[in-house]
């Protein structure tokens, strides 16, 4: 049994690592008001570059660190120059989505280059431990602390005493005024991305050495932890990010000490949600500060949607309806079943993200809630599958809305962070609540789909079932959006303050959107559970949330038909062209980047 001092040391060391990521995020947020979701990918790149240096080039430690910092900085500069600078004058959601797309591309490139299997990253320091009080400390701990502290000092000196540092501070406080002093904001952005990437890369290297192992799943975790630390410290606040990171490290370490390793992330995300709800500007924000994201301009690209005549839609529904009667292969039906399931999720997300403007990054959690509810009800209580799926939808609607409701007062990027965290929390609760969810083992032997006592086994019957449910949900949603409710939703999206001034209760309408959206997503998850017959806590992950978001943007945010078209396009096309699975995520990332750059309103336009 390790001592409390050990847990404290461990917490501070891990906190130092988080700080290297979070400080970069804070610098970037300060200057560009952007949460850089690609930060974790740079950390991943840093870890693998470090592996190349240590294992293949046999560089000595100081050279390894310099090499990793340099390559990571270069990646950061490329991201800024080619990924983000072209988006400077576009809607504010664009750069956020671009960083998500970039992170998909970078992660997949690393995975394709180095294979997804974990690799050992040997520490280049002697493996000895020194006794300190009741605990022990090793040379690697000291190195991490040293790198963390010296980076913070260097950054402090840079920001306080150099001309470029002053430019960074000025630009982060008032970008236009800084330009009027002659500050070249592009150069500031470049500097900030370079520094953030160098710190992030070194952080990846150190973590790899600390755990003696690296794998491609590190990326998302690092982004999440960095974002948590940054928001806890106050978005854009550099010293706050350091303190937030150390706090996060300690909370996790003590949490692990008391409850066990699988609770580590749960504590991180709970800390985030508590801070977002109670002090959305971070622990150190002064009360005078404006509420988060008081920025002007629309978050979502306005456009004139493509109008599809009713008879056109009817013909399309009829054609897809009779498809199983035609001589099509099992494979095509299978693909389209997946598309319909994703379509339901996209309907839900296009309502929440598009119509009412709450860009959710945790939508897969709604699938998970629906899937687990339906699976457990039918398996343990022998509830008929049809009813169980409906119950799953209702549970998703109720629980999802309840979970998200504390963050209803957040806006813009903060909604995305909060939903991301809630998504992770749901998955971690499923992992840890073994008595109900069976924990990491997952649920197997889920009964197949059935309706009124008849099992739906044949692909055609499953196809019809999924298609019919999706069409009904789409019709309901279209009806909803045509009513005054739809107008109120859009009013909240376009200007929540004005909407409130007209007497629209934000909480009530956001709840309604999440209830409706939660039901559609829960039903989709429920059907999926009975279709797959096995689910676990990783079946519905963040990657799926982001895939759904890509679908929705591809179709046009808020656009009901667009959501379904997007789902067919993004699931169907890779299947038809038989693109290997490992390239798909890469393609999703590239699609997202191209869309954001060239057609932010999507194929059919936002509504």
């Amino acid at each position: 049994m390790s001592s409390w001092l050990d847990y404290t040391i461990n917490g501070l060391i891990v906190g130092n690592v988080y700080a290297l990521v979070a400080v970069g995020l804070a610098l970037i947020f300060g200057v560009s008001r952007l949460i850089n979701f690609a930060q974790g990918s740079i950390y991943l790149v840093g870890a693998y570059i470090g592996w190349v240096a240590v294992v293949q080039l046999h560089t000595p430690l100081p050279l390894t660190i310099i090499f990793v910092a340099a390559v990571a900085a270069l990646v950061g500069l490329i991201i800024e120059r080619f990924g983000l600078r072209p988006l400077q004058n576009s809607v504010r959601i664009a750069p956020l989505l671009a960083t998500i797309g970039i992170s998909f591309v970078l992660d997949q490139l690393v995975m394709l280059t180095f294979s997804p299997n974990p690799r050992a990253l040997p520490s280049q320091l002697p493996d000895v431990r020194f006794q300190v009080g009741g605990g022990t400390i090793g040379p690697l701990d000291l190195l991490i602390a040293g790198v963390g502290i010296s980076s913070a000092l260097l950054l402090f000196v840079f920001l306080r005493y150099t001309k470029l540092g002053w430019a960074v501070r000025a630009a982060s406080q008032d970008r236009d005024a800084a330009m009027q002093m002659g500050v070249d904001v592009n150069r500031v952005n470049q500097t900030v991305f370079g520094i953030a990437a160098a710190l992030g890369g070194v952080s990846g290297l150190l973590v790899g050495m600390y755990y003696n192992q690296i794998d491609t799943a590190m990326s998302l975790q690092a982004t999440l932890k960095g974002v948590v630390a940054e928001v806890v410290g106050g978005a854009g606040n550099v010293p706050g990010a350091v303190v937030g990171s150390l706090l996060l490290g300690l909370v996790e370490s003590y949490g692990v000490a008391v409850f066990g390793t699988s609770y580590r992330n749960l504590f991180a995300f709970l800390l985030l949600v508590v801070v977002l709800v109670l002090r959305p500007n971070g622990l150190f924000a002064s009360a005078r500060q404006a509420p988060p994201e008081p920025l002007t301009g629309t978050f979502i690209a306005p456009s004139r949607p493509v109008r599809i005549p009713r008879w056109g839609l009817a013909v399309a529904v009829a054609l897809f309806g009779i498809l199983p009667l035609l001589p099509v292969s099992f494979y095509v039906l299978q693909t389209l079943i997946n598309a319909w399931l994703l379509g339901m999720l996209a309907l839900s997300l296009t309502l929440v993200a598009g119509t009412i403007g709450q860009v959710s990054l945790g939508h897969a959690a709604l699938l998970a809630i629906g899937a687990y509810t339906s699976a457990l009800l039918s398996l343990t209580l022998s509830v008929p599958v049809g009813l169980a799926i409906i119950a799953g939808g209702l549970m998703s609607a109720a629980l999802g809305t309840l979970l998200i409701s504390p963050s209803f007062r957040l806006r813009g990027h903060y909604v995305s962070i909060a939903t991301l965290a809630i998504g992770e929390i749901v998955s971690l609760v499923i992992l840890n609540w073994e008595s109900v969810t069976r924990g990491p083992i997952g649920i197997s032997g889920i009964p197949p789909l059935s309706l009124f006592g008849y099992d739906l086994i044949s692909p055609a019957s499953v196809y019809w079932f999924a298609f019919a449910v999706m069409v009904v949900l789409a019709l309901l949603q279209a009806r909803l959006l045509g009513s005054h409710l739809g107008r109120s939703f859009r009013a909240i999206r376009d200007d929540d303050i004005a909407a409130r001034a007209y007497g629209i209760s934000l909480n009530r309408y956001k709840s309604l959107a999440f209830i409706f959206g939660g039901f559609a997503a829960g039903v989709s998850g429920g059907i999926a559970a009975h279709l797959y017959s096995y689910i676990n806590h990783e079946t519905f992950n963040t990657q799926q949330s982001i895939l759904a978001l890509t679908v929705v943007i591809l179709g046009g945010l808020g656009n009901v038909v667009g959501a379904i078209v997007g789902a067919v396009a993004l699931v169907g096309l890779p299947e038809i062209f038989r693109i290997a699975a490992e390239y798909r995520i890469l393609i999703y990332g590239i699609v997202l980047l191209l869309l954001v750059r060239f057609r932010p309103q999507g194929l059919l336009g936002t509504i």
């Binding site: 001309k163 002053w166 008032d174 009027q180 002093m181 070249d184």
Partner: protein, 246 residues
């Protein structure tokens, strides 16, 4: 004061500006003579602030020409324009709130590399704005509106500009500070800096200006020597309604 028209330092000619579909400026032409104080008067939504943004390169006109010191400013970035010798006192001051007063003033010298001369100029600012001396290490955001205006003016002077553009320098200030600010603008001008200012408070602005233009929904409806405009009844008619609503 004015005997003959000085050579033009800044000239906007036939500028047309749009925000999306909406046209903001209609063939706007304004000249600022070297050594002059020129005032642009106008009510709300007349296009005054956009005129400042055009000069500073923050907004690009769809057509027309902007020249400064004989060279075109069209296509230059804001930092490049600042380096040509135009400094600005933005609307509502726009100080760097979390930086100290000293840092704010020195940010004005961002485009300069002559450290010693910059230090001398900082001292000069403290004689021009004696109140700021005790406030140097304070957060700029903690100053009063009038003090912030002093910092913004000192910051603009630090780049040793030949032209300062000011967006509503007296807005939101107490009457005491309004007089002080106008006095300072005159002092700055007497030291050889040309001034182009946007104002809603016509009677005060016309007291110190050499020339004035009246802008109404994007068109110049009146222009001429300030003394002549001060007595012109059309000046009141042209925009004072808007000013009182503000």
């Amino acid at each position: 004061m004015t005997t003959s028209a000085p050579e033009p330092l800044l000239a906007l000619s036939d500028v047309n500006t749009f925000y999306g579909q909406a046209q903001v400026h209609f063939d706007l032409s304004i000249t600022v003579g070297r050594g002059h104080i020129v005032c642009l008067l106008g009510g709300n939504a007349s296009g005054k602030s956009t005129t400042m943004k055009i000069i500073l390169g923050l907004v690009k006109p769809r057509s027309g020409e902007v020249t400064f010191d004989g060279a075109s400013l069209i296509g230059l970035t804001t930092p490049q324009i600042v380096r040509r010798g135009i400094a600005s006192v933005p609307e509502a001051r726009r100080l760097f709130a979390d930086m100290s007063v000293r840092e704010n003033i020195l940010m004005g010298a961002f485009v300069r590399n002559d450290r010693d001369a910059v230090a001398q100029d900082l001292d000069r600012m403290l004689t021009l704005f004696p109140k700021l001396g005790q406030r140097l290490s304070q957060r700029a955001g903690s100053l009063s509106g009038g003090e912030q205006q002093m910092v913004a003016m000192a910051r603009a002077l630090m780049s040793r500009p030949s032209l300062i553009v000011m967006d509503e320098p007296t807005m939101g200030l107490s009457p005491l500070y309004v007089d002080r600010v106008l006095e300072l603008i005159r002092t700055i001008n007497q030291e050889g800096v040309s001034v182009f200012m946007v104002e809603q408070n016509a009677s005060l602005a016309l007291e110190i200006a050499h020339e004035a233009y009246v802008l109404q929904t994007g068109k110049i409806v009146l222009s001429g020597p300030a003394r002549a405009l001060k007595d012109d009844p059309r000046v009141r008619d042209a925009y004072l309604g808007g000013a009182e609503a503000a």
